[in-house]
Symmetry: D2
Subunit: 367 residues, 4 copies
């Protein structure tokens, strides 16, 4: 299904960076869901370049909805939308024709599509394709919010700088705080340090990555499907759709390798008549199914591959080695933009899994 994701609610993505438009079709939307345009705008804003630290390309164009919405509510039919690509500077990319930018999909896309691909600006592999994902995710996010579920992601680490960790005793407050932040960091001081680090990186014609940390609160126990459609399988499948994501871990993840079972197990207890775990090393998931505790996972984001320094590469048409210097606007980091894409993809996955369990009448207002 290549460009379609999800079973009950499914998102079909289209577009190239320098084509006419990008967009998506959301199928399986329950009817009667209020489209929260403000939330869409907020999340698109978080994804957009935030001031001077990000690419100069303006993308403040919001999605144009083509179908599936009437009077501000979902009709139940597919919601299609597009975002025009009206700020294209294709000539920046002309020099790159048939040149494999290291770390990019130019070469693999060329092999896959036999030279027919539009690689300009990254083409279909461009990070710009995350804009429709955020739009679709924002629509789902509102549905989840209505059910008491919320999702937040902060930059846990940007190269040498680490944010303070989530306050596990008050995730709700931290998540709300992140919703208001332009730059997704909990500690304002670390936030400034990170921004400075990104700026310095640009000076050095280099780029950096980091680690995103996500928390989901309010998700009921019993969500997720064995064997192959566990929450972990579904979330990881979704996360690796985000360009630059190269790792994911749930709960303690790779740190489990340093723990004994007696440390790693989360003891069950009863708290106010509700079953909880005393710790949450497993990130709210046992056997692939939610246990009612917050879902917790971290994603690794690699440094942006587009850097201004000269690099060794090949011209795959001429089959010869060459030096490449990428010009044009490029982010020295994308992690601060990726965090809301992680939120969005998480929202899509959880909506899908909830629909499996509760059916299409679960969501949407009564009329």
């Amino acid at each position: 299904m290549k460009n379609t994701f999800g079973r009950h609610i499914s998102v079909t993505l289209f577009g190239e960076s320098h084509g006419a438009a990008i967009g998506a079709v959301i199928d399986g939307m329950p009817s009667g869901v209020r489209i929260d345009y403000e939330l869409i705008a907020d999340m698109m804003d978080q994804r957009r370049a935030a001031g001077s630290i990000s690419t100069a390309r303006r993308e403040d164009d919001l999605p144009e909805f083509l179908s599936g919405i009437k009077n501000g509510y979902s009709e139940g039919t597919p919601i299609a939308f597009l975002i025009r690509n009206d700020n294209v500077q294709a000539k920046d990319y002309e020099q790159l024709k048939d040149t494999a930018r290291p770390g990019h999909a130019d070469y693999t896309g060329h092999i896959k599509y036999r030279g027919y691909e539009d690689a300009s600006g990254g083409g279909h592999f461009s990070g710009r394709l995350t804009a429709p994902l955020v739009t679709a995710g924002a629509i789902c996010m509102h549905m989840l919010n209505e059910k008491g579920i919320d999702i937040g992601t902060h930059i846990a680490k940007l190269k040498d700088i680490e944010d303070i960790p989530f306050d596990e005793t008050n995730l709700k407050r931290d998540i709300e705080l992140l919703h208001q932040r332009k730059f997704g960091v909990l500690d304002p001081q670390r936030s400034e340090a990170m921004i400075a680090s990104i700026m310095a990186c640009r000076e050095q014609q280099d780029s950096i990555g980091g680690i995103l940390d996500t928390a989901v609160i309010g998700l009921e126990a019993g969500i997720g499907e064995p064997e192959f459609d566990s929450i972990e399988s579904e979330l990881s499948h979704a996360m690796f759709s985000i360009p630059a994501v190269k790792g994911i871990e749930f709960g303690e993840g790779f740190h489990f390798a340093d723990m004994y079972g007696s440390q790693a197990n989360d003891a069950f207890a009863i708290d106010h008549g509700k079953i909880i775990t005393k710790t949450n090393h497993n990130g709210g998931i046992n056997g692939g199914i939610s246990n009612g505790m917050p879902i917790r996972f971290r994603t690794a984001v690699k440094p942006t591959p587009s850097i201004a320094r000269p690099q060794d590469t090949v011209d795959f048409a001429e089959m010869q080695e060459k030096k490449l210097t990428i010009v044009g606007r490029h982010d020295p980091a994308v992690i601060h933009r990726a965090r809301v894409v992680v939120d969005a993809m998480t929202a899509i996955v959880l909506t899908d899994l909830l629909l499996e369990r509760h059916g299409t009448l679960y969501f949407g207002d009564e009329r």
Copy 2:
């Protein structure tokens, strides 16, 4: 699709640990594929308890094939097989009824299935369900081998002990070496140390996990699908189907967070008329598509949750807290058994993606 994985070749899994049988149906098999029973037996052997370090339960029963094979070759129709559960000691689990074993799916399975589940021995969530996965994976592995593709996984780290890394200049030799190892470690000395560590862990009534490191060689460039069916999305989806896997990273993965773009990018070059990358930080994948270099990824395996020490938990039927002491046979580690499951799931994923590109006539002997 819950218990079905794959689009072109798909595996449908069934069974509970203490039910009549476990097994799978492999649909979409090309016809004319030789069923390599020796390879199946070898891989099943790697998955099986290796001597005293693993659970005493004997599972030397090989799969009984029910359909889809004639004269040792696939017919093209579904291959169904089962493995009987004839060594069940259900009474060991009777005390566990309605008791949420920490780190296990007892509670989440109970919420999901409303008390109708057979939780005995982990039920459908048991690690025993990986036996059919290995069988299916072994059939695919042979298909890949015929195309010059091979897959190997070693225990890179078992708590404090690290294996020597793969020799990136001779992965073929290392992979072949691992195929012959009962215990999947490259360095024999580290292997002994790890086994000792597991034995010590049993003494302490505790368990340990670790990190698996996988290499795939011989995969052509251009395999994998954007946006949602990248190699990374598909492999991660598959890996999180393996119980105890809690993290996955491709190439440098989480270590990318410590690198500059100028360090992380893999420069392209031409080697004997073939495009290669000088380094392989991206694990052979750019934009979700194979670039012809070895696929490299690591998976985090948590410590086995079944430990003999008394643990705090709840009886979810009585809704009261209780102490739990798990008796019966349990592995103090599963990582040495999980490595071949990782190989198997990788083989299934890559076969599926190759079928997408090359069609069903690509595999199988000519007649």
Copy 3:
């Protein structure tokens, strides 16, 4: 997905007529559904050869369940079952090797599977594969019955003999009547005439087909999905999985071609506070979605292709024309056996569509 059908509840079929076993895996079963073994046996009995008019092969073996059922209730995990092929007379088929029986899948299967297929007894294309479908359908049928839905099919026409039509004013009674009939005909006299006709056909070494007429009562309005997953799309997809089915029509179907719109439209009215249609020319479906009236459709069943008369054909290995005389046991008609397969497939489709709308908690007992 070849051998897997359904999205929420899915049936994966396996087996060849003369292989070790046939069977299926039902995934997506809600938990807590009572397995109605008596209904399974009844429906399997309807499918089985009824006395002297059908093939002498004994298939009274009921399915052996391997997983997913505990204490007579579904666990929520996959239900796998098999039926052994223990009455195989393979030598009857030896003469048929590489011979394309007219009307059969021998030749197409050979091209598709390149000679690796087990064509003996029809192999994977055998009508015997409908036994697992009936088993799976019977499980779904019980789920539907619990929701007040029932399904019945009669032989509307067997060559020159027509049954009396369904009494549209009392479908419930007619459907119940059909459940009790060994031979699915409403009018006992026509039933006898049809059986005599089949017997005569055997004498003439020939075969006959006919038309099945199906009614579904109790289905709520609003079930079915546009554009591509309408009730009609789903039911037709399912029906053409039944060997020998070559046509399907909903409501007036092909007879619509003889009607004016003013005759074909079903006027809406209100009856006891419920919206109904005064007529049901559209077979309970508008725009692909149920309107609360009975679902009505007819399926065309072709004469059994296996006839004892000498036929012209080819040996596709030798690539030469030859005469073929099929020996062994063969039904001069299968329509009386197919009717319950139609019921079964209908039950699977409707269960699937109801799960889409109502979620997995809709079915199954409360506990």
Copy 4:
């Protein structure tokens, strides 16, 4: 998957009749396929109202392509396109609010979508949604043509008037002839009679339907998948996506009920070194798989439900019976427009099945 159809190549449909736009996303397109704009225009022209016999609404707007095409060739990435709805006369539909037009999806859509649907002009259920299907089908048709496959459909019967049958000995000529016909009838005289019949029907404020007859030539043997993805299952699934289609039969279809097996079986023979069947009662399909003979099927199209005569119906908001007189432009028949939709859906299905067998590199030009 509701609005997505196909596995290898998949079409995701969106739009409402009176919304901003309708359109589709074609995913899984092989790269290097020339987009035959002329063929698209031709097929869209056949679908469009042909002169005075069809609705006055002008829809000559051709699709606007948004992605996936570069320099007239498919890139391999999703092809998205839209068609604006700029000729909407919504006020014609205002009187219909909450009124169930007999034979339409107003009521079922209302129940399904709980009143949030945009029923105006039929909304998502409108025949207008077939325009994107024809666009997508035309792209596939070109791919098939390049492989020597062609598809044609004629109006075999329009109420009392029957066209001459296809000349089975020269289907190629008949299909080419149909491609050039505005009104899809083989015999020009019958064509005129049918048009006159439709015109008369309009005078009587009524509507008529008929039967479409389709032939596919050039399809290789071995295409189609058992059990559930037979050519018949896939084609029927696709055809019932076309509004007004209420029946489908393959080969002799319902007429099989009047034949003996000895008449119905197609004897195999060898013709110029190629295996053929002497007759083609089975419509080129044995066991769900193509046998190399022409694929032959017929579809029943019901009379257009929108008629100008007063009809009995209900207001489902007020829950009371009422008289309805539909005003506005409406076709007294759609069958002459539906024939190219049948061609288009057939092209999509066959492309999908060919991709399954031959992989994505099968189609598209070499470069």
